[in-house]
């Protein structure tokens, strides 16, 4: 792989991400000249690059996409879901090819064939299919409006009004047809357009006996009159009624992608208010602006914002001040834009990322390891400097050593933190593929859902972010597949057809809290209990004793799935138990809350830094071990009378819960000192996989901030240990993997 190819790979990946975001934004919010232009240029650039690194299959399909986007740019093709889907699929294909190219230096063997198929599908969207390009519902085609404009103001009393679209067959002359003669027979003709169906060929090539006309007309005639005139050519003629009928139908919901219209209306009101000059139309202006805005907001189901505007109008009237309405409208405008921000930050300023530096991840990792070793070294220096104090005495030397040590300590800690920052990436990187996931799944499941994302700016260690993708993906898919109901069901339960999924992140101190929330059908604790019973997860009495809330947490247990069938969307191998394991491996916690019929929320609580762990040093079986603090709930000194025995197990009561006691030495297969039954025992209460256990240890020593080194060599696969670190006095400390110990 040479440098040119490497550059091609990284640029292509970036362009694909950008174009994906823009495509989805355009689908959601409608035609936007700037975005469309960006998408077009992305395909254009991708096509060129593919050519430069000599990947003709890729270039072929990108060329087709580029042509399609050119038509959209020129407003000759509308932005439709089908078009966006095809364009996104094209990007998917190119992305897969880039990965293959990166791995093997070439595209897979069927690439050429795939490229041809994909190009064909893209180009199919370019051709003008007469029957499908019209509006699918019964509203009149657009040409009617244009034709009407041609008619000078005339005086027609209310009566029949029809439009006709006549496309004679090319061979109609041989049937004795004279299309214009038929049109001339139409009484009360009002407007006529005669156009070539296909572009006129050069005259020498023209066939004078092939009809190449498309004739459209508007007339104040009745259907019967039309039927009579066109009785011999009914297959070539389409007739539309234009006059008012007497039966009003209900105004249909807006299905055309409402986002852009609502934004435009609000913006227009603000512009109209800003253009105010005279004072005597002030009330009319801000009153009508408020009414129009509130109307539109209610129509698009934003009653909350509509009420704000109406309240502002009342206040404005009372105080005779237009600015209150203007301010309210400005708030509404940014309120409408808010959910967009999280998704759109990436596309908002593609140029802004140019100030970053591309660095090899391996370099950062090695820097990070070095920094970790420095921390260990500074810890031992600190320890030594403490030891040396009594030797050196109170004099200058002692003070200087102490001061130097403190300086070193703080510098190294600071440097380590800075390097840790290098690995911090914003969560938006994680979130950016989710709008697409939701969109595709909605199409597939025939459900309607909207995804809002918040907190993408929160940062987290890259390793954590990478490992969070799979679990989050599973949670979102789960929400869509099992949580959110089909539109009919939602309507029947009085819920809005458009379901809502929220993906939110927030920092709470040194923890990161992530939430996946849906307003679907919720989790039925009874169903979970029943399944748990069926699977024999735990004794009947225990299941019954669980509160509804605790029963719901059972969904994280292995082997439990309350969905009727394991669908291929959320069922394959990634269960909720795997999600919990992943989260706990990252040092986090997961919990679910749910209200039946209202929705479900899954919350992940993660440490921001996986790198530095707080370790509690404990003694057991004559050895020292490290216990990761993030699992430790508390330590308890137990007097013998608090300890009860049930068969061979010991336990004690802690705030109304029975906590089993395990001797750490026993668990680790170490020789135990005989228990002094009179001495109080020391237990450390840990929380693992939703369960609570008390580990009995001989002693608890100090705590330290440690960077874990992974197990090496012969012990690499030893279970129960998650790594080693150095204790303050320089001994190697085995850090226990408590999860594994109790799994």
């Amino acid at each position: 792989m040479n440098q040119l190819q490497e550059q091609f790979i990284s640029e292509t990946k970036e362009l694909i991400l950008q174009a994906t975001d823009d495509l989805m934004a355009v689908e959601r919010f409608g035609f936007d000249a700037e975005r469309i232009d960006r998408i077009f240029r992305a395909f254009h650039t991708l096509k060129g690059s593919a050519g430069v690194v000599d990947l003709p299959a890729m270039a072929l399909v990108l060329h087709a996409a580029e042509d399609l986007l050119a038509a959209v740019k020129a407003k000759m093709r509308p932005v439709t879901t089908a078009l966006v889907s095809e364009a996104l699929q094209c990007l998917d294909q190119v992305s897969a090819w880039v990965d293959a190219f990166e791995a093997r230096g070439a595209l897979p063997p069927q690439a050429g064939e795939r490229a041809r198929d994909a190009a064909l599908r893209l180009r199919a969207l370019l051709s003008d299919n007469k029957k499908s390009s019209g509006t699918p519902d019964k509203s009149r085609p657009d040409w009617v409006a244009a034709l009407i404009e041609q008619v000078p103001a005339t005086d027609i009393s209310a009566g029949p009004l029809l439009a006709v679209d006549y496309e004679p067959l090319p061979g109609c002359f041989f049937n004795g047809d004279d299309p214009l003669a038929l049109i001339a027979a139409i009484p009360e003709l009002l407007a006529l357009s005669v156009e070539p169906r296909d572009p006129w060929p050069p005259l020498p090539d023209m066939d004078p006996f092939a009809c190449n006309l498309r004739i459209r007309a508007i007339a104040a005639a009745t259907r019967e009159q039309f039927a009579g005139i066109f009785r011999l050519v009914p297959d070539q003629v389409e007739v539309f009624e234009l006059a008012p009928t007497t039966a009003p139908a209900a105004a249909g919901p807006d299905v055309n992608g409402s986002g852009a219209l609502l934004d435009n209306i609000i913006v227009c009101q603000i512009a109209m208010l800003d253009a105010a000059k005279a004072a005597d139309d002030s009330y009319g202006r801000y009153g009508s602006a408020a009414r129009a805005a509130a109307n539109a907001l209610r129509h698009f189901a934003r009653d909350d914002l509509a009420s704000e505007v109406e309240a502002a109008l009342e206040a404005a009237f009372a105080r005779q001040s237009a600015s209150l309405v203007r301010d309210a409208l400005r708030n509404v405008a940014s309120g409408l834009a808010a959910p967009l921000e999280a998704n759109d930050r990436e596309t908002a300023s593609p140029a802004a990322s140019n100030r970053s530096l591309r660095i090899d991840e391996a370099r950062i990792d090695s820097l990070f390891n070095l920094s970790g070793e420095l921390i260990v070294a500074k810890n031992s220096l600190a320890h030594l400097s403490r030891l040396i104090e009594p030797v050196v005495g109170e004099g200058d030397l002692g003070r200087n050593i102490r001061a130097a040590n403190e300086t070193l300590d703080s510098l190294i800690t600071e440097m380590h933190a800075a390097i840790l920052q290098l690995r911090m990436v914003p969560l938006s990187q994680l979130f950016r593929s989710f709008p697409r996931v939701v969109r595709d799944l909605c199409l597939r499941l025939d459900k309607r859902a909207e995804l809002t994302i918040q907190g993408g700016a929160a940062e987290c260690d890259k390793k954590v972010v990478e490992r969070l993708f799979e679990p989050l993906l599973h949670l979102v898919r789960n929400a869509l597949d099992h949580g959110i109901e089909a539109p009919d069901e939602r309507r029947e339960s009085g819920k809005p057809e458009l379901a809502h999924i929220a993906l939110e992140a927030a920092r709470a101190g040194d923890r990161l809290v992530l939430e996946v929330r849906d307003d679907g059908r919720g989790i039925n604790p009874a169903a979970v209990r029943a399944k748990a019973l069926e699977r024999g997860l735990m004794p009947v009495a225990e299941i019954a004793a669980l509160s509804d809330e605790d029963a719901t947490q059972l969904i994280f247990s292995a082997g439990l799935s309350t969905a009727g069938a394991v669908t291929d969307i959320s069922g394959r191998g990634v269960g909720m138990d795997v999600v919990r394991n992943t989260v706990e491996q990252l040092g986090g916690k997961i919990a679910v809350t749910s209200r039946l019929g209202v929705g479900t929320s899954v919350r992940l609580d993660l440490p921001i830094n996986v790198a530095m762990s707080q370790i509690m040093v404990v003694a057991a079986g004559g050895q020292l071990f490290g216990l990761p603090m993030d699992l430790v709930s508390e330590t308890v000194r137990l007097t013998p009378d608090r300890v009860s025995r049930i068969k061979n197990n010991r336990g004690f009561v802690l705030r109304n819960r029975i906590v089993p006691i395990c001797s750490l030495a026993e668990v680790l297969d170490l020789t135990c000192q005989p228990a002094d039954s009179q001495a109080p025992g020391l237990v450390i209460v840990v929380e693992v996989g939703g369960k609570i256990v008390a580990l009995e240890v001989d002693a608890i020593h100090d705590r330290l901030d440690a960077v874990l080194k992974p197990m090496q060599g012969l012990l690499a696969n030893a279970p129960a240990y998650s790594g080693t670190t150095m204790s303050a006095d320089g001994r190697v400390l085995l850090v226990l993997d408590v999860r594994e110990l109790f799994s």
Partner: protein, 78 residues
């Protein structure tokens, strides 16, 4: 009834049926830029009108047929 050529002019006179379309087309091809004069025409078959529209050349009118003059002439004069 017929298509008649003059110097720089192609006359379309009387009622013209479908077969005149070929003659008119030939005339137009052989004399590109010639003015098509339809001021003395009668009813014209669609095929004949089609050739006039496709020719996109200068047309001298007003068209002898009032209906064509009212509805189609402006499209010929593009």
């Amino acid at each position: 009834m017929t298509v008649r050529r003059g110097p720089g002019v192609i006359h379309v006179e009387g009622a013209c049926g479908v077969e005149e379309a070929e003659i008119l087309l030939q005339a137009v091809v052989e004399a590109p830029g010639a003015v098509i004069d339809w001021s003395a025409c009668g009813r014209l078959h669609t095929a004949v009108v089609q050739v006039i529209l496709a020719a996109k050349g200068p047309v001298r009118g007003p068209c002898g047929d009032p209906w064509l003059e009212r509805w189609v002439a402006r499209m010929a004069r593009q």
